[in-house]
């Protein structure tokens, strides 16, 4: 019996190992019930006598403990089965509901299953299919007709989701998205599980997803370059392995079924307070929230001027038409399966048909689909989401000082101070336990989201699930089920965890008093009373939930349209809609080496919209030219100038990653002077990453480190046979902190490369420990190291080369600082905002930063980096131990921004996912900025980053900073008037 996370599989085997019975079904968390039913089925056929029984599977462990049945670990059961049924297989890949496993059977047995943070499994595929509003089987059929693969994050479901959402809202074809999802699963499996071992030979595909989805198997075949087989009974390998495992023991079937049936749920889980003590409490609660309503009027035959607001969200499209008093005339909340265009079109058609006498005089659109919809329907204004929500919230609670919006994909919170947005919190891609999260759980158990959430209202002991991202939550829920929690208590627990996630992960509130006193909650998720109640319980405050909680973005957009109206709207009329059409083509941009996949939408009437781009190039048709206000480009230019120079001592390769992004001038000069021809690995891209992916041992290390594997492969492929990549515990001491370490990953990644890249065996890999921080000792030490590899290099040669290297590094850093200052001056002259895009030297890599620098430029701001200004602030005490060179620069740059008189100067911190050190720096940088009343903005980047989400952050920052500046002006004006 194989009791998995989502399905139940049972096999009965006769004495000769032949399968005489098999069954596969979803258990919808009703494990004991379904197990008993399946066993009864067996008893009916074969009698209820003694049978040798063994349980396996992730949910089987609990069952075996409760019933005292033997347990076989599932991966090991697979191994047992493969040995018996497919003795000549080399590798078996099995995907289950929530687990992925690889078994290397020949050449040294190795069995692996995914770590605790890894999606890319059956549940992930289900989740993605739900997003596309199709079944996995339909997804498979669609994928067969794809002709393009988009890159989709393969780490975890939440990430992938935020990649897919914008693809859909930009109009990408579903078939291409479906195929891309399968490729993501393959990459996840290879990256997460192969861990440096190559998958070759005879490969067998096992488990549900690989059995049912032929396209998924094809994707595996094409990535691995093999022709795998999906054997008979591929669903039942775990169950079969358990059946024939030596662990199994004899049990009376009839009595076992009785035992399972009488198995009462134990309440051995940790619970939290119930949401409502009584029905009366609930009634009082409902009564209180009824007050926050917006007036609705239906004026079908009155002539009047009206305002349109549209919110093209990630999973829903909301639209509202208001009159001049802010009353709602017509509205709709529409579920979107990706493409918002037809929904808005239908909304407008319905509106025009019913309100023939109304006239839209102004319109605005907000949300993910903003640009697409603005272009499609000639909507007058685009407004950033945060501004729209604030406008709407003010209507309900003019004194509002805190707004929290939990939507399908995002959590947005902002604090209001002096009637301006003061601080914005958006969820990181990894912690979005939002609306769609509840929906996924509801769907998995066969409920609609409203019914599911309401189940929890009167739960007596909600499960305490903590506050974590979806992947972790899955296993917490699994554990709760094992501990006998009822679906009611799990539902309530999930509602509480959504709230906790928002409070403690996104806002990072230590105390609910941090939030403010007058709170407005909104977003579709808060329409669930359970979530709302959980929020009130957790914060200990009564909050305002507008009855249009799900429509607030659109409502705010309509209000914005009204206050910015110039009396006439360009929005498509009823007449124009008749000839409306929407065509989507996908193509690759040739503007730069990024080769973004573009989706070109055309709507007729010459209107079009291009999505998927990271810069403005494909839109403006501008050619590539140096950008004088982007320090990123200048730094790249400088680094590109370090070309190979033929030398008598042969070639040495340098992998361009991590700290090499700053030390290249140093090492290049040093080695070139010594007569080596220095070959630098090419610029990173996705393909380069994939070429090294199979040698990555730790799937949770940061992406910049993972890229190194590709750079080494690239160097080897170009024929380089000596690679120089030293370990550096210490970095240069810039006098900014208490010490001058590198982070452990930067310091020692060469060790990982040496231990995990088999192709290096035939090459010379120099990864000695060097101390560039001690210039006086460096020459002698380095001379010693070199002498171990090369003969005939004299101490004096090394001395001269080292002197030149130190000088070169100095001059490189000086150039950056000078150019940084020039940019600051130029921007001030042109009255442009400036962003200090602060991170690490390797964030210069456009595969790492996803061209965020250009995105900032396209928003109209100049870009500089942290080291350009970090030398300007005097050393100051920090609240954390300031012991890393790169990170000390962050604090110094934050201090510089905080103290700058230029109010248009802001700092945005780039954080690589998985960077442990940034758990410390982000809080510190935030407090340095906030202590001076500056806004802190953080952008998390990983393998993939959704430029849409980044744009919202940047625009919110500009909007908030802009409002602040304007407000300061107003106050001055007011004062001047008063004194006059």
């Amino acid at each position: 019996m194989d009791v998995g996370s989502t399905t139940l599989k049972c096999v009965a085997v006769d004495d000769n190992g032949n399968i005489v019975y098999k069954k596969y079904e979803r258990h919808y968390a009703r494990i004991t019930e379904k197990t008993a039913a399946m066993l009864s089925d067996i008893a009916e056929r074969f009698g209820g006598g003694d049978m040798t029984i063994c349980v396996s599977g992730s949910a089987g462990m609990g069952l075996s403990e409760t019933l005292g049945l033997p347990f076989a670990q599932e991966v090991y059961a697979t191994r047992t089965a493969v040995s018996a049924l497919l003795p000549n297989a080399d590798v078996a890949i099995e995907l289950g509901g929530e687990d992925a496993k690889i078994l290397f059977l020949t050449g040294g047995l190795e069995v692996r299953m995914n770590g605790s943070c890894a999606g890319g499994t059956g549940a992930f595929i289900d989740q993605m299919a739900a997003l596309l509003e199709i079944t996995p089987i339909e997804m498979n059929a669609l994928a067969a007709s794809s002709d393009k693969i988009y890159t989709v994050a393969s780490r975890c479901g939440v990430f992938a989701k935020s990649d897919i959402q914008p693809l859909l809202s930009q109009g990408a074809r579903k078939s291409d998205v479906a195929a891309s999802i399968f490729y993501a699963v393959v990459n996840q499996t290879v990256a997460g599980l192969a861990q440096g071992r190559e998958i070759t030979g005879k490969v067998a595909y096992l488990g549900g997803p690989l059995t049912f989805l032929s396209e998924l198997r094809k994707s595996f075949d094409s990535v691995l370059g093999v022709e795998g087989i999906c054997p008979e009974n591929s669903l039942y390998y775990v169950a079969y392995g358990a059946a024939i495992s030596p662990e199994s023991c004899e049990t009376g079937l009839g009595s076992l079924i009785e035992r399972i049936r009488s198995c009462t749920a134990n309440t051995g889980y940790i619970s939290c307070m119930p949401l409502f003590e009584s029905r009366e409490d609930y009634a009082e609660f409902q009564e209180r929230h009824k007050k926050n309503t917006v007036e609705r009027v239906s004026l079908e035959d009155v002539e009047r001027e009206v305002f349109l607001g549209v919110d093209g969200g990630s999973t829903t499209v909301k639209a509202v038409v208001t009159d001049s008093q802010g009353r709602i005339i017509f509205s709709d909340y529409m579920r979107s399966s990706g493409d918002p265009v037809p929904l808005v079109k239908s909304f407008l058609e319905r509106f025009y048909a019913r309100y023939t006498k109304s006239k839209i005089v102004s319109s605005a659109v907000t949300g993910y689909g903003e640009e697409l919809l603005k272009n499609a329907f000639s909507i007058d204004f685009g407004v950033v989401e945060t501004a729209a929500h604030f406008a709407a919230a003010k209507k309900f609670l003019p004194e509002v000082d805190f707004i929290i919006d939990v939507g399908g994909q995002d959590i947005k919170c902002f604090k209001i101070r002096n009637s301006a947005i003061d601080n914005i919190f958006l969820n990181e891609a990894c912690s979005s336990g939002c609306g769609s999260f509840l929906q996924t759980f509801a769907g998995a158990w066969g409920y609609g989201i409203e019914d599911f959430a309401n189940l929890g209202l009167f739960a007596e002991a909600p499960v305490d699930l903590g506050s974590r991202c979806t992947v972790f939550m899955n296993s917490s829920v699994k554990q709760a089920q094992k501990d006998g929690a009822s679906i009611e208590n799990i539902s309530a627990g999930l509602s509480v965890s959504v709230v906790k996630n928002a409070l403690y992960k996104v806002i990072r509130a230590a105390d609910t008093d941090d939030l403010g006193k007058r709170i407005v909650v909104q977003g579709g998720t808060f329409l669930n009373d359970a979530v709302l109640r959980a929020f009130e319980c957790e914060t200990g405050r009564d909050v305002v939930r507008p009855d249009i909680a799900g429509l607030m973005g659109a409502y705010g957009a309509a209000l914005y349209a009204q206050s910015n109206s110039f009396g006439r709207s360009a929005v498509l009329t009823a007449e124009a809609l008749k000839s409306f059409r929407h065509e989507v083509k996908s193509t690759s941009c040739g503007g730069c080496p990024n080769s973004c996949r573009l989706t070109v939408n055309s709507f007729g009437g010459g209107r079009s919209f291009i999505g998927g781009n990271r810069c403005e190039k494909p839109l403006s048709g501008a050619t590539c030219g140096p950008d004088a206000l982007n320090l990123f480009e200048y730094k790249k230019e400088l680094l590109n100038a370090y070309r190979p120079v033929k030398g008598p001592r042969g070639t040495i390769g340098i992998p361009m990653g991590l700290n090499m992004y700053e030390l290249l001038p140093f090492w290049h000069t040093l080695l070139t002077r010594l007569g080596f021809e220095v070959i630098v690995s090419p610029e990173s891209n996705r393909k380069l990453y994939l070429s090294g992916q199979h040698t990555i041992p730790s799937d949770t290390v940061c992406y910049p480190a993972k890229l190194l594997h590709g750079h080494i492969e690239a160097l080897l492929q170009s024929g380089v046979r000596t690679i120089f990549y030293p370990c550096l515990t210490y970095n240069f001491d810039e006098g900014l902190g208490d010490n001058h370490y590198n982070c452990p990953v930067v310091a020692y990644y060469p060790e990982v490369i040496r231990a995990n890249v088999p192709a290096l065996r035939d090459s010379l890999f120099i990864c000695d420990y060097l101390g560039i921080h001690r210039r006086r000792d460096f020459t002698a030490k380095f001379h010693g190291v070199l002498s171990g590899y090369f003969g005939g290099i004299s101490f004096h040669e090394v001395k001269d080369a080292a002197d030149a290297a130190y000088d070169e590094y100095e001059s490189y850093m000086k150039k950056i600082r000078l150019r940084g200052k020039e940019i600051l001056r130029a921007a001030e002259k042109q009255d442009l905002p400036v962003i200090i895009l602060a991170g690490r030297p390797y964030h210069l890599d456009s595969e790492v930063n996803h061209s965020i620098d250009r995105l900032v430029r396209s928003c109209g701001a100049a870009v500089i980096t942290e080291e350009a200004v970090s030398g300007e602030a005097a050393r100051f005490p920090t609240r954390v131990l300031n012991q890393w060179t790169y990170h000390a620069r962050l604090y110094a740059a934050a201090k510089y921004a905080a103290e700058s008189k230029n109010k248009k100067l802001n700092l945005v911190q780039l954080v690589s996912f998985g960077c442990g050190v940034d758990a410390i720096t982000t809080d510190e940088v935030r407090s340095i900025l906030e202590d001076s009343g500056r806004i802190y903005t953080q952008i998390k980047i990983d393998e993939i980053t959704n430029p849409g989400a980044v744009k919202i952050r940047l625009r919110s920052l500009f909007a908030a900073a802009g409002i602040k500046a304007a407000e300061a002006g107003d106050i001055q004006k007011e004062r001047a008037e008063r004194s006059a």
Binding site: M113, S116, R879, A919
Partner: protein, 423 residues
């Protein structure tokens, strides 16, 4: 910076009336340390509070992406202060500060930030470090105190080693634990008399301890031998690793956990390595060498005692462990557990504990390198080794971890039965 974050010093006058709280990590060792600190004149207590509240409190006051040990240690402190058991105006906290390049050096600062957030900004925090990072007039790590701690550490390592090797086989369940407890009491009463702390006495008492354990009646059934390595806190602390040793014991395993002494030697040795690799002062080198020699002496007392009866597996001394690492990873790799972790895995494999569980906090930076990063290399050298890395964090469920451990054990048992067949 705002003054609210300025450090609250632990002054001389506080020493008399304050209770100093320390986090729990290694139950045997810390019981002995507790005694020694009390003798040094402070009212000292190792915290025993556990449970979900500890992690929850940590989550509330520490950045959630911070490593699990930080979360738990800080959570344990604040949970204790919240409990009402201690007068927070008469309580100080003590925490180690290593000063290495890993995030752990920041725990003390994060603790202070968290205390302010939780309204305990007035509670002084003492940094326990050998490098003079922060000074407090009411507390100093004096030479006599250090010597006592080293002796206690040696006893702790020995008791832990013997207990692990007897417990799976004892006929009277609980007897080896009783022996451990009995010896903790005996050692403490020796300490009270100012005895038991010299090298000579450690050797003598070590012999007695080993004799006591050797006399526990056992039934030598076949057990799966499992070694545990990892990030130091998660490896040792039952609170962090979900009572890993108990779980493995229930699964029919004999466990070997490398002791604390090699870690101390490693930390001292790193200073020598720094000088060797990058240059540095000769005086410092001599001082460190003296310290290392002293530590190595105590290490050898423990190992010699353990080896006497010939029934215990004796781990290799630090010098040998370092030799092992040489071919695989550079000895300059020093952050966190550094090369020592890799070397401990090799040592375990060579002494018959080829099934290894590498325990680390989720996202632990050094472990990307020295743990997960080295497994492939070790498999090349020792094809029969069976290593599983397990991540620990507040969200990781026990089911998930136990499932992976069970997989490791299934593979181990297959290896075992194969070996039996060959014989």
């Amino acid at each position: 910076m705002p003054d609210s974050i300025a450090r609250v010093e632990f002054t001389k006058s506080m020493r008399k009336e304050y209770t100093v709280l320390a986090p729990q990590m290694l139950p045997i060792h810390f019981a002995l340390f507790e005694k020694i600190f009390r003798q040094a004149g402070c009212s000292f207590a190792v915290l025993q509070n556990e449970g979900r509240a500890v992690a929850d409190t940590g989550l509330k006051y520490v950045h959630n992406d911070m490593c699990y040990p930080a979360l738990l240690v800080i959570g344990q402190f604040i949970d204790a202060l919240n409990s009402g058991k201690y007068d927070t105006n008469k309580t100080a906290l003590i925490i180690t500060q290593t000063g290495g390049g890993c995030r752990a050096s920041n725990y003390i600062h994060l603790l202070r930030k968290a205390l302010v957030k939780a309204g305990y900004g007035h509670v002084p925090v003492i940094s326990l470090n050998p490098s003079g990072l922060e000074k407090n007039s009411g507390f100093s790590l004096s030479l006599p105190l250090i010597r006592r701690l080293i002796a206690a550490l040696a006893y702790g390592d020995l008791l832990m080693l013997l207990h692990n090797q007897i417990k799976p086989y004892e006929i009277n369940r609980g007897e080896s634990q009783k022996t451990v407890d009995g010896w903790i009491d005996r050692l403490i009463s020796l300490f009270d008399k100012g005895k038991g702390l010299s090298g000579k006495e450690v050797r003598k008492n070590g012999g007695k301890i080993v004799k006591d354990f050797a006399e526990i009646p056992v039934n030598r059934t076949e057990k799966t031998k499992v070694g545990i390595v990892g990030e130091i806190y998660v490896k040792y602390s039952p609170l962090a690793n979900n009572r890993l040793e108990d779980f493995l014991f229930e699964q029919g395993c004999e466990v070997m956990v490398p002791g604390l002494m090699s870690f101390m030697l490693f930390k001292a040795d790193n200073r020598l390595e720094d000088i060797r690799l990058y240059g540095g002062s000769a005086a410092k080198r001599i001082a460190v060498k003296i310290l290392m020699k002293y530590l190595a002496k105590f290490e050898s007392h423990v190992l010699t005692a353990a080896g006497k009866h010939g029934i215990f597996t004796v781990p290799a001394p630090y010098s040998r462990i370092k030799e092992l690492a040489g071919g695989v990873i550079g000895s300059g790799c020093k952050m966190g557990e550094g090369w020592l972790l890799t070397a401990e895995m090799m040592e375990l494999i060579e002494s018959g504990y080829g099934n290894i569980l590498c325990a680390q906090p989720f996202g632990c930076l050094p472990n990307h390198i020295v743990g997960k990063g080295m497994i492939r290399q070790l498999r090349n050298i020792y094809p029969e080794s069976n290593i599983v890395p397990i991540d620990y964090d507040p969200g990781a469920t026990k089911v998930n971890q136990e499932n992976r451990i069970k997989l490791m054990l299934a593979v181990a048992r297959e290896g075992q039965s194969r070996a039996t067949r060959v014989i």
